[in-house]
Symmetry: C2
Subunit: 351 residues, 2 copies
């Protein structure tokens, strides 16, 4: 038993009572931190930083030290899997990720390897183990992956997209090809998260970042199916404890009931979703995570504090709330504002 | 009385029974049509086309001729108002609209004129009158404007944005400044739509394109308030008939009850919204417009037809459905696919 000294986050994920509301921030280790930018310069490009165990560990711990978050999340990227599938991933400044070998046909899908997390992706569980050691049980570490649908959008479109025209044409006209791709990705994500859990991850989050660009029917067919399959395929025990699974579908506020039915432990809410309405949709089946507008970090600290109070109030007194933003920290915010957010959550939620 | 020969669209807006489901498409006059691209080349830049009565009339009628839509929508842009407020609007290829004089302070807001639709914006009601004449009562013409919040995002950010960090900082830290701007915009939009109605517009649509980037509370405070004020300020009679108002908040699926309370006649739905759930939220108070995923136009005509059938079915047999996409037509679709969509709606919905 190596329960972390601060297990508030894990208790909230299990809907157990806690002394205060635990908080972490999506993209808490990142460009808004000057100490991150210094390490990033040393590492060279973004994927080199992800692949460097020592430096990835260092940046993972930065927000634990500076902000006092109640969980660390592995510093990495959802595109590690497409990169290991040999899609020719590059990060182009100002344009985001580009895949030089987009997946467009049955043959393209057939040729994709399911990467071995003990081999090409070994650097990820290695980083988890290293983070776990460096944390020395201060707080739990969260592993993560992108959802199959989200990864597929980058692989089929060849990068980011505004219309998702290529992958949606595939969904409408060649659904069997897309399902074969999603099936391969679901197997890969399952192996990948299991390897992170085996390496010591005490919770895992699946980022369904682009699930919300689908119609309700298409969401159920092309994203939800595979989220459910992954949750069912995970070995959710670590140190004798259940490893909670967090699902976050951006724009998925209307589909929380479906997401709760997957067997996930926690659902992440975006800032457009009303917490009381979310509670109504999911009942007491899952814990909830969220959901401040990330833009609150542009506001003055007093204003941030007010918004924290409003949000704590909206989630109500019942256990099962992990405080977070409704999406990642933006790169141009003042770290002092993130500190103010953390302090406000911790002080205002303590009974 | 100059009721149009085809008044199916207007009857559906009023929730009266119709022989078939009327249909038009947001951005139906646009770059996907080769006949549009030819006119655009003649006109020069985009705003010059909007300002040219003869050419704007020609492109407005193109989809009526080619597709047989049940309503024409004036060819124009939501940014006519910020342009007339002297914000230094330019369209930069690949980047979208840029405002060289962004509105950032109390003084900036104070200096903004409320443009006179009989003067600087005169070209817009002139175009409506010209379209009305050219249509010769074949189908009704829809006038439109952007919502105050949506216009303000461009004016404050200085163009498009991913994070809305500047305007949201203003909303959190200087709400009085933002409210003053929104108030000015609401007065301007009201005058502008009334001028379009006076010139012959038989319906009007307000595009709240970016309402969905707000939290529920901020949506009510910064967008809904002004939508309600505009609806109340419109002179909604033309040719002795009520002029229906259509509100479309992209990403507003959870707030349809609030939108119905504004007094609007029709609510536009995006493709993420389930029509049955929308009916449940609004009861019989308003008609509904929508809501195919615009990406359906990338699919094969047979697939388009299946999706049309599913959508007609989802809206159900009760009157009060205007068929449309859930957002605008993308510029890279095949016009033959839009024709297939139109034919399918007309044939499948006829009893």
């Amino acid at each position: 038993m190596t329960r972390p000294d601060n297990d508030t986050f894990l208790r909230a994920c299990r809907r157990e009572p806690t002394d205060y509301t635990p908080v972490w921030l999506m993209r808490q280790a990142g460009r808004y931190l000057p100490e991150y930018r210094r390490v990033r310069e040393k590492a060279g490009d973004f994927m080199s930083l992800c692949r460097n165990t020592e430096l990835a560990t260092e940046v993972t711990l930065q927000p634990v030290d500076r902000l006092g978050v109640d969980a660390a999340i592995l510093f990495s990227d959802i595109l590690t899997i497409p990169a290991a599938m040999d899609c020719g991933l590059r990060f182009v400044s100002g344009e985001g990720p580009v895949m030089d070998k987009p997946v467009r046909s049955e043959a393209d899908v057939g040729a994709l390897p399911v990467p071995d997390p003990g081999d090409e992706l070994r650097y990820v569980p290695d980083a988890v183990a290293s983070v776990r050691k460096a944390l020395n049980n201060r707080v739990p570490v969260i592993g993560f992956a992108g959802s199959p649908w989200t990864l597929a959008t980058y692989m089929v479109e060849g990068g980011s997209s505004k219309t998702y025209g290529i992958i949606k044409r595939m969904a409408y006209d060649e659904p069997a090809v897309l399902h074969r791709l999603l099936d391969k990705l679901a197997r890969s994500v399952t192996d990948y998260l299991n390897a992170q859990i085996a390496a010591g991850a005490q919770a895992v989050q699946i980022f369904d970042t682009w699930g919300g660009v689908l119609t309700p029917e298409a969401f159920r067919e092309f994203s939800l199916t595979y989220l459910r399959r992954i949750v069912n395929g995970l070995t959710l025990v670590n140190d004798g404890e259940r490893v909670p699974v967090i699902l976050f579908t951006k724009g998925g506020g209307a589909w929380l009931g479906d997401l709760a039915d997957t067997g996930a432990d926690v659902l992440g809410l975006d800032w457009q979703t009303d917490p009381a309405e979310a509670r109504r949709q999911v009942g007491g089946r899952v814990a909830l995570q969220g959901n401040l507008d990330p833009a609150i970090l542009y506001a003055r600290p007093e204003r941030i504090e007010r918004e924290v109070a409003r949000t704590l109030d909206a989630f109500g007194p019942e256990p099962g709330h992990v405080f977070n933003l409704g999406h990642g920290v933006n790169p141009d915010v003042d770290p002092a504002h993130a500190e103010a957010l953390l302090a406000a959550v911790h002080s205002l939620s303590r009974r």
